[in-house]
């Protein structure tokens, strides 16, 4: 099965990001193909490398990064949602005159078309959110 994941919620506030991560990991371990993980709404907050949870808590951002490294996952943060919530990569910093970036490694910022394309390309779209 070729599937796409949509994450609508930020990490920590809601379980959605954890559920999406565990689902994606289980599917990849079963040999399915994950075309893309698309982060929307507050879900874009999964893509900041500045996240610093306490040591006895899981690191949701790093979980995604490690999964992406192992399976070459495409982690896409919606640009419009990211701009609203201050998730910035080098290109965005330059375009919008910001003095810093915070995008986590393996994540990239792109348009909503990436979600639509994923829905067209994949057999299943699985949505996690609040």
């Amino acid at each position: 099965m070729k599937f796409a994941i949509q994450v609508n919620e930020g990490p920590y506030q809601h379980q959605a990001s954890d559920s999406a991560y565990h689902f994606t990991k289980a599917a990849l371990e079963k040999g399915h193909e994950c075309f893309r993980v698309f982060f929307y709404h507050d879900g874009v907050l999964n893509g900041t490398r500045l996240t610093t949870p306490p040591q006895d808590d899981r690191n949701v951002v790093n979980n995604w990064v490690e999964l992406a490294e192992k399976y070459d996952l495409d982690l896409v943060v919606c640009v419009a949602a990211a701009q609203r919530r201050g998730i910035v990569d080098e290109g965005e910093a330059e375009r919008n005159g910001k003095d810093a970036t915070n995008i986590a490694p393996r994540f990239r910022i792109s348009g909503l078309g990436q979600l639509v394309e994923a829905a067209i390309q994949c057999e299943k779209l699985v949505v996690f959110g609040d």
Binding site: A16, E29, V126
Partner: protein, 102 residues
């Protein structure tokens, strides 16, 4: 092939489960996860509704979420099947599409 409906809200707080039960077809599957696992319990105000849905639809509950909330298998409505994340993946794989009642 039929649809998989996913519900993640407690039925005691939001109406997602009720709407899902009203708007899902006989033969479809429903997975309760996150706070929706509370909808799989016996002796609640929503038990009858879920039990009767389990008559013509297949109702599943995500065991890791049940366990996390201190709920054991014997609290789950008869006919509701427990699955883990691998089982969740299999349900998605076997469906023709997934409809999330987030």
């Amino acid at each position: 092939m039929s649809e998989l409906h996913t519900v993640n809200k407690s039925p005691f707080e939001k109406n997602s489960l009720e709407t899902c039960l009203r708007l899902s077809k006989a033969g479809s599957s429903i997975l309760l996860y996150e706070d929706a696992v509370y909808g799989a319990l016996k002796n609640t105000v929503i038990t009858d509704l879920v039990s009767s849905a389990a008559g013509d639809r297949k109702v599943y509950v995500l065991e890791p979420d049940l366990k996390a909330r201190g709920l054991s298998a014997d609290r789950v409505i008869e006919g509701v099947e427990m699955v883990d994340y691998a089982g969740f993946v299999d349900l998605v794989d076997a469906s023709n599409k997934v409809q999330a009642w987030v």
